[in-house]
């Protein structure tokens, strides 16, 4: 049997990145995304992808991991590579009977592929390597509404619980020789599974809330975070700012 892993597993960042302030890492990922989606020229986009790959490596993503996380993009990109060259007018690059594929359309599809992958890699490397709870605290410090942060922190906690519950229910189904097929019986069974998942989990949520109230929980967490801005963070922020400015200048439309 497969080793049971929790679904929310952050990658382990290298020492340098791990000591950077979580807020800086979130803001850097957002700034990188903002600059990258605005880039037009391919060399600048390639540089963005290289920077994102470096961020992913600093965030502890292995090559296999990175490729696996980029795989979900493949479906949409395949559709875009198939349709954009036919739709964007321009110099023909390939002609098949009445259809002509334009170079401009192909370039547009490549631009989208580079932008999408670069943003995903940078996001996984800079933010995905944070502990989910630290991420919640950093989001609170960045000014997100308190209730939303509470919801975030509870959800992080319950994902592990529910995933465990889900695996137990799946195992119970397997023990009764359930094999998922493409028929109404399977779908109905999965519907009952979803219902059971909700019933058991909400029951557990009630018990957890009761236990927390018992210990004096009055609806609020006290954030016991130790986010502290170091001198290294200022240097990293300046470095990231300069790099992004350079990227922006390189990528301006000619």
């Amino acid at each position: 049997m497969r080793v049971a892993t929790t679904p929310l597993t952050p990658s382990t960042a290298g020492d340098w990145l791990a000591t950077r302030d979580a807020r800086l890492r979130i803001l850097a990922a957002v700034a990188f995304a903002l600059v990258t989606v605005g880039l037009e020229r391919l060399p600048a986009l390639l540089l963005a992808l290289i920077l994102a790959a470096a961020a992913a490596a600093a965030g502890g993503l292995t090559l296999g991991n990175a490729l696996r996380r980029l795989a979900p993009l493949a479906g949409l990109l395949a559709i875009l590579f198939a349709t954009l060259p036919l739709m964007v007018p321009g110099t023909p690059w390939l002609e098949l009977g009445p259809l002509s594929a334009s170079r401009e359309g192909l370039l547009e599809a490549m631009r989208i592929a580079l932008k999408a992958s670069a943003v995903v890699l940078a996001m996984l490397g800079l933010v995905g390597s944070l502990d989910p709870v630290t991420l919640g605290h950093a989001l609170a410090r960045l000014g997100l509404p308190d209730k939303l942060v509470h919801l975030f922190l509870f959800t992080v906690r319950y994902i592990d619980v529910l995933h465990g519950e889900y695996r137990r229910l799946r195992q119970a189904l397997r023990a009764r020789a359930f094999v998922p097929r493409s028929d109404a019986h399977t779908w109905r069974t999965l519907g009952w599974l979803v219902g059971m998942l909700l019933v058991r989990s909400l029951e557990r949520a009630r018990r957890v809330t009761a236990a927390m109230k018992c210990r004096g929980f009055a609806g609020h967490f006290y954030r016991l975070d130790q986010l502290a801005w170091h001198r290294g963070d200022t240097a990293a922020a300046l470095g990231a700012g300069a790099t992004l400015a350079l990227l922006f200048l390189l990528g301006r439309p000619a």
Binding site: A33, P145, L148, G191, L198, L202
Partner: protein, 219 residues
């Protein structure tokens, strides 16, 4: 998480960064922010654990690959979220999508607003249409109400994704149509799954579907 679950994500429910035009991104962010703020106002601290359980369930259920013909599809369950959570579905969906983006790489950062809008608006529509009939006669017709919410949630999400793409440039229109087509089989699956889930909840734990608003507390 196995690679198998990650490799095949059909239909496409998360738009990545770099595809949509700026006005679409801004619209998505504004609509999402509005819906989330209303949802948060209606969500008191007492009910946060419950909403979090459902956000987590939404997250876990999206990992289930349901066989369909030669391929498989992933559940959205936004219709069910709307039925159970009402307005609070918007912040719950935002949190689940943010976690999927940051830790799995589904979607992107700047598109988070649009991606949340695409799933949360159908959830709110399902809440507005189906919560009252479900409350009036829980149990009776539960399957049909659930199936309606399941199918409508999925179809509206497909339509919103297609509209977001088509509004970002006429060259994206064929891609939008292809993606919309891939939502039709999921609507069928999701109708049966949500119908069964709502029937089950109606029998086993009707208080989840019709929260006793008058009491509000456990005791």
């Amino acid at each position: 998480m196995s690679a198998r679950l990650l490799a095949e994500r059909a239909p496409i429910a998360h738009i990545p960064d770099g595809v949509l035009a700026a006005p679409v991104l801004v619209t998505g962010a504004v609509v999402t922010a509005g819906a989330v703020l209303v949802g948060l106002r209606q969500l008191d601290y007492e009910r946060i654990p419950q909403a979090a359980v459902l956000a987590a369930a939404f997250f876990v259920a999206s990992l289930i690959a349901v066989p369909l013909g030669p391929s498989s599809v992933h559940l959205l369950l936004n219709g069910l979220m709307g039925l159970v959570l009402g307005w609070a579905a918007a912040p719950a969906i935002l949190v689940a999508l943010a976690l999927q983006a940051v830790f799995f790489g589904f979607g992107g950062l700047l598109v988070l607003g649009v991606n949340t809008m695409n799933m949360a608006v159908p959830a709110l529509v399902c809440a507005a249409l189906f919560r009252a009939p479900l409350r009036r006669h829980p149990g009776r017709g539960a399957f049909l109400i659930g199936a309606g919410a399941g199918a409508l949630g999925v179809l509206l999400t497909g339509v919103l994704i297609a509209v977001a793409l088509a509004a970002s440039g006429s060259a994206l229109a064929p891609a939008a149509k292809i993606i919309l087509l891939t939502y039709l089989p999921l609507a069928l699956v999701e109708a049966v799954v949500t119908g069964a889930a709502v029937t089950f909840l109606g029998r086993v734990a009707p208080e989840i579907l019709c929260p006793p608003e008058a009491t509000g507390h456990d005791r």
